[in-house]
Symmetry: none
Subunit: 208 residues, 4 copies
């Protein structure tokens, strides 16, 4: 890692361009960032490669994202939106979902988000002094899961739901990784799904 110290001044978040060409540029840059981070992990992804993949130059990248961390935050913000929507769709149906349906809905939620979710997991996994923004994202995901559980099984205690969410988030990330490694049809993938199903069946039994 080179000098990570933020030498930068007061500029904080990402600049939001008003004009069309700028918007397209930003979209291309974020897509490129997603791809590179997914491939290499956050720390190993270099700003130069991200820019190059978008057909741009570092200067351009820094024009919109004043630091690597700002880029990460912008990505996370985008992921949050996507994840929010995914949960919203599940939550609509949550109260009426059977255990098997709930299992699939949750466990496939991350894996179903293409192609960003690999970068998302990489970002979540990356240390880098555990930036506050990433913790928030993680907490938001946990709250989402807990809420979905509660919607499905209102009798579930809030704290229990929260603890279960921690486990389920692990499973969701594992599913993403396993699908990437073995493909959707792998036997291990089926086992992970089955484990999640029997777990939810057991925990939500009396409550549903």
């Amino acid at each position: 890692m080179a000098s990570n110290k933020s030498r930068g001044g007061p500029r904080r978040g990402a600049v939001e361009p008003r004009r069309r060409p700028g918007k397209e540029r930003v979209a291309a840059l974020m897509e490129a960032a997603s791809a590179v981070i997914a491939e290499r992990g956050f720390e190993a992804a270099t700003m130069a490669e991200i820019a190059a993949r978008a057909g741009a130059l570092v200067g351009s990248l820094y024009h919109f994202f004043p630091s690597k961390e700002a880029l990460a935050e912008a990505l996370i913000r985008r992921y949050e939106g996507i994840v929010d929507e995914a949960f919203a769709r599940v939550d609509e149906r949550a109260p009426t979902l059977s255990v098997g349906e709930l299992t699939d809905a949750l466990i496939d939620l991350l894996a179903g988000i293409q192609p960003e979710s690999r970068a998302m997991v990489a970002l979540l996994e990356s240390r880098a002094e555990w930036s506050a923004r990433r913790m928030e994202f993680r907490d938001a995901a946990l709250q989402h899961i807990a809420r979905t559980l509660s919607l499905n099984s209102p009798a579930l205690g809030a704290e229990t739901a929260r603890h279960m969410a921690v486990v389920l988030l692990h499973n969701m990330k594992a599913m993403k990784a396993m699908v990437a490694e073995y493909g959707e049809a792998g036997g291990a993938v089926a086992e992970l799904r089955e484990m999640t199903r029997v777990y939810l069946a057991s925990r939500l039994r009396g409550t549903g």
Copy 2:
């Protein structure tokens, strides 16, 4: 001159020390490496910090471990020994273990190895071109788990055991991470244990 060309010929792994002080130094260096890697992850751990934590200089570190990768391999070799022993202890009792006992034996196996296992997980998780050595370690762990399952439930198909092992290894690593984050008494820890228990109960039922 510091050209990176491999010049020394076939020197591959770590140099084994021949004198008492060297042995102690190597032990101290590996301990320091474990600690730093556990804290920062493999890529972010610097050779300088590892050496410093052992009260040594980089030159000393490189005297025993000719590269960062060689250090990683030496650590993995040590972990392999420890993990082998842990599995051997479980396997002695495996045929007679109840599902609950088997669950605990497996899920606590990694977490029970102190203090190295955090570094072990970090090493397993690190990318760095997925070095062959780390893949082997992973495969060995999977085989260990599959064997333990088969010892407990001989009727289990070999392939099924293998697929279950993939899932269980995920759980074991998650347990390690969660204990490190929340402590042993955390509610999430209990949930992970419970999930593993009901999963094993469900899969080993008819077979035991």
Copy 3:
């Protein structure tokens, strides 16, 4: 992080500068590299000194030449151009040259290229796993010489010309070194010229 793993993908040779100041910088860097390599030899020449001599920092040097080897290749590419031109000028007159004129044309060819040729010889002499690029340069020089010989004495067999070229290249490099050491007027320089002349006279006699 400074892992040596090739991460940037296929970037091989030198980056060609796109702006005026860059072009000048690159020219200054290559000149500095020539000078330092000429003085110290390739291996002993350090990137830091090369950069410093051009009034730049290592980072700048690496901006244009991603490795020391890439810098060497860029230099060789430039030398190739210069040498090609020098041979082209000789070859125009080659058919009509007397032995004495041919001797002078060849033996002074390298020595006449100022100031790069000392670095060129240093590069040619340097080991460093005998990089393919340098072998190619050497082969090209041999072919040039053989062609010039054949132009002057068409009856010369291709293989003989090739073997003579090996000897003449030695003489050309020796001339460069001796001029650098003793100056143009040295008695040894005259002897080398004379040796080359009687050799060519003897070999090209019946053929010319």
Copy 4:
């Protein structure tokens, strides 16, 4: 290059062991040094590899040769002895040698010294601030050659002989290199021999 500064105290040359085992050790170390320097060149040869090739350790090597330069000097001293003898053998016959015989005697002199002469050439070629010792060796070789020439052709002026020696030494080193590269039977080797023959024939004609 690491810290090349001689931090050492007043110890200068190599220690000469009195006991048999010491003598054998020294011989083995010098042989190993010759081999490694021949393979890699002087600068790239490391003290550790030299020691290892002799089945010894750096400490041992430094016991007998207090620095790398001292080792180089010891090697040169040995070479001087060998070269002195070789010239003595030639000089006995020198007055009666025909031009062809003189050519062969000189041009094969270095190449005929096995296996040290490659290291010798490497040492002679290496820069390393052009140590005085190596310059002396070179000068001694030049004087040897000049003397042999004068013995064969007493009418030759002293200065002319000296200038011719410079050229002939180049040829002798080139022969060594070419034999190493193409083998004894190469066409280029024959050309080099022929060039040397016609040169000597031309220069020594009236004088012999």
